[in-house]
Symmetry: C2
């Protein structure tokens, strides 16, 4: 799979126009700052296929549920982060022509996303139908230093045109949300105005009272010198802005800097929203581009200082992993427990921008290991705050006594998803929350979190399983019937091994947590007993279930069996599928997908990855060798896990292939769905594959341990990792690895089964 | 379950207004004539909850598919018989008031459906807000003698009102289809006009070019004498009609007879449609109510002569079975192979009026046994004509070589349904088509039908199974993975016993049919070999599959197992479900339904019923006693089958309860969904339960055989049955049964294992 993008260590570069890849490029060149983001659509007019999406974090719209055939328990609404007013736009007009990149002749088009500084550039030469030629240069960034601001610098140089060039910066509330269920409009326009110095548009989501206000002001320069032309104010019902400009001769250039602030009622009172938007953009104008960009760049510098991963000898991997780290930092800042990361972050409409279990599976470990612990803690608090809704979700499907079912897809904790086989059956999702809690305690050392917050969630989840398992008199064991595992290419199966196994591990963790809290945090324990109506006797039943659950396996093959009946299938390898039928979810009818042996994403292998302490290398090998050839990796959450296991069993080539797949999933558009947005919540997978796979990071006993290997192609790689308040820097070369402590005093770690003390200021060098 | 309706042998009677049961009554009092039908909604204004539906057979609208999450293979459209222009309506106006049954005070309300004559009556006294009192009498029938006509006689008698009474008969094209997917309008209005003598509305379905034209004319009488008042013509865009009337004093009555013709482009060229509609209603006016009603009544007389079932000693059962026979005859005339019966016939919107496998399972045997054989033949030709589409359906889900998958829900043969677990997986539906073919040959003796039409369908179905089964190396047998059986409360299961067993029987029938046609219809055989690219060698594989398919069973329990893993469930009885949770499909979330042991409709028992020759009474007993307590009967296709099997194993009380359930399903609203329309396609179940259950009718070898019993409550019962050109009349009493031939010369039958020759003109009396 080869990308149309140019390879570069710090930049994503597109050369040439590629109209057929417009939506792909829009996804790749997305800009965000954690508060809002927009796809990399053209700021000017472009009257051809495009997905111009702008999204404000934490703002959502309740779309009426659309199903073919209603089933009891379906939610009434599907939550969506609605396509917000377009705050990026401007028009460029000559006397009697308007720049339109779909109609004008475009030459020497290039764009570049500078990941080091968090800014995108675009350059091209455009020739109008009448022969007027303009050179265009665009710079755009969403400030992570001042998270209310997005700045655009737009320069037009006349090659042969003489006359007035007007530039019309605007905010447009007349936007479409492509994937709306019934084409409902999502916004009410509350107010729109243009004054002499600023213009704003104030909107509110229908059916919710969340509000957004965008305000713009600008600066106009001709040949580098500020021009004070009186603009024409534009005040339409849904569009506001200015028309300004200057007369030019060939060789002249005019530049407009658009200062736009985007604020929401998440952070400001409704009554002050307009004032805040206005003041922000006016202050930005006073501060000026250079200072604002400097502050923004400085923040990125800090991020890269802490989080950069260097891979020498493999520019593709280097570019890919930086792209992932860049996008994760753009899309989630970790400073607000009300926010989470949707599968596409702020880069597309798909999945409505809602939270899925991807967060706990893939994002929590990354943020936990690579950032200060309060970031991961905010993810967990997000779920804690939604516990009452999770209890309601379980009640809706007939469970009681405070049992909780965390949602598959949600904005505020209410289940939004409406496919019975997922909504009601993909219940393993509860377990990853307990897993994430345990991981947090393990890596942060902060076990008070369980006492303060975690245990209530855990008790509710244990109660869920208590009611959801059933006893088979036929097997004389507990069974879990009618589930969908992580492998969504099987639905409504019995005894999905992953679901059953993770249920056991979850119950064991919960039983231990109950006992730990009782012992170490007695006050919290009594508070919880009372608030949850919890009686310690409940854990007897949980233990009985954990000890006596059916786990399908095949002794002859030496494998855990994905689910009851799996071995009745025709067992084939994915290599037998003709290339023109991949990805199968875009070609096969659903029944064919279901009855085939092919796996969308790791399922048994996911269980082995998560609960690695429990499995021998030989068990990993047998299961990996059985399941990997049957795995399609049509979920973005699959390749990195397989890569980690391949590394663990010493299959470095396979591990590398899967690492590259995970790392360049979007840049190389593996799943043929880049147009819809980036796979934000699986982007951490590349980092995890490097750290847990190649570097072999595990927790053994109570100790951080490494078992580093290095792919053939690489000269060296390095990364930072946090562990209980310490930050370690590891650099791994072919023959040597070095470890130093860049935060903290001392930590014992194990490398290749030997224990080392890493002490502040003293590098540990280990020969391989 | 007690009905609000009055029990009567020949009438369905409602006393009292029952606004809360408006939709139920509308379903019950539906009128139809095979060409069109309308629910029993009030002809006058009624501004409260109601489902005013009018439907024209064979006219459909392609509604855009609505799903939550698209899957490959889903159809683009769902076909619906659209709610047609309301041709029944009229307004009744006083000087400054309009009759509205939701607002006026209504007393002494009654209505009656006279099933013997096929006419409905309605009477009430209405007092206006201003105190004007009117007595109303209404008569309405849809002619089965002249199938283009519906006649309404509307009489108003003034009690205390003096002044003008206007009556406004109209046709209104501004109708709503409640269950439309996206609220799309379904009709284009082509033309609408009112002349001096008639008014018409000509419409066409959007996205299809099927057209309907309704034309009306009328006759006005005052105190029984015709009045020639000049009407006011009403010509709105979507509504056409007349306003007419006369001055009255207390005691006077005026009567309007509305002659309406409803014609469609199925029977008339578009260019002549309006003329035909117009001519038909004008001719009707000339002919007059009395003659037209006489002709209609005469047709009903003939129907009852042939098809009446008499049950003495059980007025409820008597009323119920006549209601079913009446509605079946109203909704399907059997004279047009392009038509079929939707699950609700012409009495409601649900299921879009489309054809389902109910037709072959339940309707074909009834029509085959109770009517001339060309009726059942038309049902089979319907499927034959749709074979190319069935092949296309199979191709869409990846099968080839002329394999056919008959649709779950269809209008023209294209699959319309869009739930993967049904659309792609409820594939047993193919088998009932072969079953119906074999039944047809068995009862009609017409084996040429297989050679002319049936074999092509059969080959296509065998090819489907050849490609759809898979070989389990684990079991060393063929398996059928990922199916939904008739019991739709289980989805995506492996080795559903019914599906596997009926696959075996289907393949065996097909193999035999190939050989019979080759032997007896060599010309047809060669024609088919060529047109289907059929090679006799194909049957080797079919035989191998039929002989080596896995059929789950449990020797200990002595039962066939519904599907793999069924015995892992918690096995409970439906009596353990609290009454307020029934029907469970209206209360439980889908996962709970799926993982419970409860069965929507007979599944293993269906197989035992259909292929009864293969099972011993002990096998039937064991399976019945195991599955019946787990069966919810939430499908209308379930109770009659269980009733038949209960009768067969001598459990007469159970058989009777289930018979009554099947027979009065709608009258007593067992499934709490009467408001949506009648369960047309399961109505034959009551007849079948009587004939195949109580009378024990079977084919043994080549002979019609009976093993009659009689429920305790009954004095006697009698029915006619057709067998190979003969019609037998059976009358069964407690101690005696009599059989006579009312058509044909001689037929040998077996009763209680003894053989009797029944000869024309000679009654056979057998003591029980």
């Amino acid at each position: 799979m080869k990308s149309y993008l140019v390879n570069d260590k710090w930049n994503i570069i597109q050369k040439g126009f590629h109209a057929d890849k417009m939506r792909d490029s829009e996804s790749i060149f997305s800009l965000a700052n954690g508060r809002f983001g927009q796809r990399g659509f053209f700021e000017e007019n472009y009257s051809s296929d495009s997905l111009p999406g702008s999204y404000v974090a934490g703002v959502n719209f309740l779309d009426r549920t659309r199903v073919g055939w209603w089933k009891n328990g379906y939610p009434n609404f599907f939550s969506r982060v609605p396509n917000a007013p377009n705050w990026s736009g401007l028009y460029v007009r000559l006397i009697d022509e308007e720049l339109n990149l779909a109609i004008w002749d475009i030459k020497d088009f290039s764009r570049r996303l500078d990941m080091k500084q968090g800014i995108s550039y675009r350059d091209f030469t455009a020739t109008s139908p009448k022969g007027n030629i303009l050179n265009i240069h665009v710079e755009h960034f969403n400030s992570i230093a001042n998270q209310n601001l997005t700045l655009l610098k737009y320069s037009v140089t006349s090659v042969n045109y003489e006359g007035k060039i007007s530039i019309v910066p605007y905010i447009n509330g007349d936007v479409k949300h492509e994937s709306a269920n019934f084409n409902d409009k999502m916004w009410d326009i509350l107010q729109s105005e243009a004054t002499n110095s600023f213009a704003y548009l104030w909107v509110q989501t229908k059916r919710r009272d969340t509000q957004v206000c965008c305000a713009l002001t600008y600066q106009l320069l001709k040949n580098g010198k500020e021009v004070n032309a009186s603009p024409i104010r534009i005040e339409k019902e849904k569009l506001t802005g200015f028309s300004t400009g200057a007369d030019v001769k060939p060789g002249d250039s005019i530049t407009l800097i658009k200062y736009t602030s985007v604020v929401s009622s998440l952070y400001y009172d409704s009554l002050t929203l307009v004032d805040n938007a206005k003041n922000n953009c006016e202050l930005a104008l006073k501060t000026g581009w250079d200072t604002l960009f400097g502050e923004h760049r400085e923040q990125w510098e800090k991020i890269w200082q802490e989080e950069d991963v260097i891979i020498e000898g493999d520019p593709e991997a280097q570019q890919g992993i930086r792209f992932n780290i860049f996008q994760l930092n753009q899309n989630y800042r970790g400073d607000d427990a009300r926010l989470n990361i949707g599968p596409k972050g702020l880069t597309g409409e798909k999945y409505g921008g809602n939270t899925q279990w991807n967060t706990e599976l893939c994002c929590v470990p990354f943020f936990l290991l690579s950032k200060p612990q309060n970031i991961a803690r905010n993810f967990l608090l997000y779920r804690y705050n939604q516990l009452p809704k999770a209890i309601e979700n379980a009640r809706k499907i007939g469970l009681n006594h405070g049992a909780a079912l965390y949602p598959m897809v949600t904005f505020n904790g209410e289940e939004c998803h409406n496919e019975w086989e997922i909504t009601f059956e993909e219940i393993h999702r509860n377990n990853i929350i307990v897993y994430a809690l345990m991981q947090y305690v393990e890596f942060s050392g902060d076990d008070s979190f369980i006492a303060k917050f975690g245990l209530e969630m855990m008790i509710a989840i244990a109660r869920f399983w208590e009611q959801r398992v059933s006893y088979s008199h036929h097997k004389n064991q507990y069974v879990i019937l009618g589930v969908t595992g992580p492998n969504e290419y099987e639905n409504n199966v019995n005894n999905n091994w992953y679901t059953n196994y993770s249920c056991v591990e979850t119950l064991k963790s919960i039983i231990k947590a109950v006992q730990d809290v009782k012992t170490n945090y007695a006050d919290d324990y009594f508070r919880i007993c009372s608030s949850c109506h919890f009686d310690e006797k409940e854990i007897e039943k949980w233990r009985e279930i954990a000890n006596n659950i059916y786990l399908p396996k095949d002794d002859e093959l030496g494998i855990f069996v994905q689910q009851d009946g799996y071995l009745d299938k025709e067992l084939k390898s994915v290599h037998e599928i003709p290339a023109d039928q991949r990805p199968v979810n875009q070609h096969w009818s659903w029944d064919l997908i279901l009855r085939s042996c092919f796996i969308k994403q790791s399922d048994v292998l996911l269980g082995i990855y998560l609960y690695y302490q429990n499995f021998s290398e030989s068990e990993i090998s047998k299961n990996f060798n059985f399941y990997e050839p049957k795995t399609l990796h049509e979920s973005s959450l699959s390749p990195y896990i397989h890569s980690i296991l391949a590394a663990r069993i010493g299959d470095l080539d396979k591990a590398y292939d899967l690492f590259l797949h995970a790392t360049r999933l979007d840049l190389d558009n593996y799943n043929n769905e880049l147009s819809e947005g980036l796979h934000l919540t699986s982007m951490p997978g590349s980092w995890l594959a490097l750290v847990q796979g190649f570097a072999g990071m595990q927790i053994k006993g109570d100790q951080l341990s490494f078992n580093p290997t290095i792919p053939t192609k690489w000269k060296k790689y390095s990364f930072n990792i946090n562990f209980r308040g310490n930050t370690l820097h590891l650099e791994i070369k072919k023959s040597q690895l070095s470890i130093k402590l860049i935060r903290g005093e001392k930590v014992n770690i194990s490398v290749y089964e030997s224990v080392y003390s890493v002490i502040k200021g003293k590098e540990v060098i280990i020969n391989r």
